[in-house]
Structure formats: C-alpha cells, structure tokens
C-alpha cells in the first residue's frame, strides 16, 4: 500500500528533522536511494519550485514529492505525514511541559543536533551541486576531465553567485527573480541540449 509507506516515510522525515526547511533535504535523498520514488534530478526541480512558491519550504517539498510519487492523494498523504510528528510533539509540550528549552537534556541534545543538522544540510548541498554542475555519467564513460563539468551551468552558477553575494541592489531580490532569470537563460542557451 503506497499511501501507508508514503505516510510512514514522511512521518520519519518530520520526526527527525531539526532546524529549518533545508534540514528535510537529506531525507528526500535517502528516500530516493532506498525506494526510488523520485530521482536526484527531480529533487533538484522540487527544490526550485518549493523555493519560489509561498509556504514553508519543507511542506512544499513534501507535497511535491508526494504528488510525484502518487498523484493528488500522495501529495495529501505525504504532507500529513510530515506535519503529524510536529503536531503530536508540540501539542504535548505546549500542554504539559513548562521550561522545555531550559531542560538540561533538551539543551544538551540540541548541542549535538545543531552541528549534525548542519552536516546533513551540507551533504545535501553537495548533492544539489553535483546534479546541477557535473556530468558524472559522461565522465565515467570518457574519463576526460573536461567532460566532468557542465560549463554552461557552471558559468550561470558563478554569475548568480556573484549577483547574490556581491552586487548590492540585486542581492536582496526574491529567489524567484534569480530562478526566472535562470529559466530564461536555460531556454535561450539550450542548457539541457534539448
């Protein structure tokens, strides 16, 4: 029953994510590895859509991944799966526990969880980077170092990095602006070679 396993996988994602939407990413890669519901490339596309639409990033990702896996009921199931642990845990904490943050065990657990979450997010960033900028399949075939890099994408990424980090009036713009510009660049210069 696909809906049960969808719910369960996203329930685990909600339960073990600590610290922000990006922290959900490693779980999507893990699901892709184990169950093959979606590819790494599809995850990269989901990130693009989830970044540029309103709503919490993690919720958007779950809705999109659920839809890719099992259509509209899949989207609903995955979304309920990812929010269910939050709902249960927060309701318990809000109703019964006072001084939750100041508890020694909670703050100590977070002492380990914060760097762990950063490690997970960094690993996800590396995956996104290699999907977008490298052509590992072609490189494995030819072994030529020049074939490893997708130069069009590397140049575009470099330009966007400069624009988002160094150019003052541009860098405050909404991510949607950069995504739209990149989409147009991709179409004009035939980035996928299609």
């Amino acid at each position: 029953m696909i809906y049960l396993s969808l719910f369960w996988e996203f329930f685990k994602t909600g339960l073990f994510t600590v610290g922000g939407g990006l922290a959900t990413l490693p779980f999507f890669y893990d699901i892709s590895d184990r169950l093959g519901w979606f590819t790494y490339q599809e995850i990269a596309d989901m990130i693009a859509i989830s970044e540029s639409t309103p709503g919490a990033f993690g919720v958007n990702m779950a809705s999109y991944a659920g839809f890719t896996t099992a259509g509209v009921p899949g989207a609903v199931t995955a979304t309920f799966g990812i929010i269910a642990p939050s709902l249960i845990i927060v309701l318990i904490i809000a109703s019964f526990i006072r001084g939750f943050q100041n508890n020694f065990y909670v703050s100590s657990a977070l002492y380990g969880l914060r760097p762990a979450s950063l490690g997970l997010i960094t690993a996800s960033a590396v995956s996104v980077l290699s999907i977008a900028l490298l052509r590992t399949d072609l490189f494995k075939q030819t072994g030529a170092l020049l074939d490893l890099f997708d130069f069009k994408c590397v140049i575009l990424a470099a330009v966007i990095w400069i624009a988002t980090n160094l150019v003052r009036p541009i860098k405050e713009l909404h991510p949607l602006f950069f995504i739209a510009v990149s989409a147009a660049t991709g179409v004009v210069f035939k980035f996928a070679g299609a």
Binding site: L22, Q41, I93, V181, A183
Partner: protein, 156 residues
C-alpha cells in the same frame, strides 16, 4: 515568516504578545519538524487548546498543498517539452547557488568548538560517503550531545 506573524498574530488579532511569539519561535527550533508548522501549532494551541493547534497547522499547510499540486500537475504535463527541460537545467544551476548561500549563512551562525566540528564532520562523511540513513544519525548526535555536555560538566 516572523514579520508576517508579528503583523497578523500580534498586531491584528492579538492572539499572542511579542514576547510569546519570540518564545514560540525559539521553542519551535528546539522541537522536531518544520519550524513554520511548529509555530502554527504552538499559537493555535495557546488560543484554543488541542483543536486550535490542529486547525492552525492545517491552515499553514493548506496553501502549500494547493499551490504545489497545481504547479506539479501542470509541469508533469509539459515536462517532455524541450523548452521546459532547458529551463529546468538552468534553474538547477540557480538552485545550487541558493542552497549554497543558505548553507554558508548557517555555517556563519554556528557555534564552533572541537565537539561541534567532530559531529559535523562525522555526519557529513556518513551522509556523503555511506548509505547510513539520517534517521539513525539524528538520534545518535542527540545522544552524543548529552554525553558531551555531561563530560564537560564533570570536567569543570
């Protein structure tokens, strides 16, 4: 998201004070799950108990669900078009920069000492190089945090 909650929840509806909102925000970061969802549950629970928490949470995910289903359905019909494939190849280059920027921002705000660097490196290596699931790494690092704090407390 915080500025919007300040306007809607604190100023317009007066469901919570400024201080409560900040408390909910820091609590939401300590609790598993997506921060925006946790915030909604805390605020809803404060106003109307368990049903309030449930309805506030449904409210915060509903727009995501509808918008994403519409976009995903639309895109899945056009994903074979060359223009769409080219556009997404371009978008992927952009997304990796946006994600990298977010990661660098997180690095800058991180507390750095021997323990945090060890945990970071171990989790990164396990995720990047092995098949070990984050479902095991996350509880393991929570336990490591508790052990490390205990050792530090004893050393003092």
């Amino acid at each position: 998201m915080l500025p919007m909650l300040q306007r809607e929840v604190v100023q317009k509806k007066e469901w919570a004070t400024e201080e409560e909102l900040v408390d909910f925000f820091s609590l939401s970061q300590c609790v598993p799950g997506i921060i925006a969802v946790n915030m909604a549950t805390f605020i809803g629970q404060k106003i109307k108990g368990v049903p309030g928490g449930i309805f506030a949470t449904l409210g915060v995910v509903f727009p995501s669900l509808v918008i994403i289903i519409l976009i995903a359905a639309l895109l899945s019909n056009f994903s074979d078009l060359p223009a769409v494939q080219n556009a997404f190849a371009g978008i992927r280059a952009c997304v990796c920069v946006l994600v990298a920027n977010a990661v660098v921002k997180l690095w800058k705000s991180a507390k750095i000492n021997v323990f945090t660097i060890l945990v970071f490196a171990a989790v990164f290596a396990c995720t990047a190089l092995t098949d070990i699931s984050p479902v095991f790494l996350v509880p393991a690092s929570a336990v490591a945090g508790i052990i490390a704090r205990n050792l530090e407390a004893r050393a003092k």
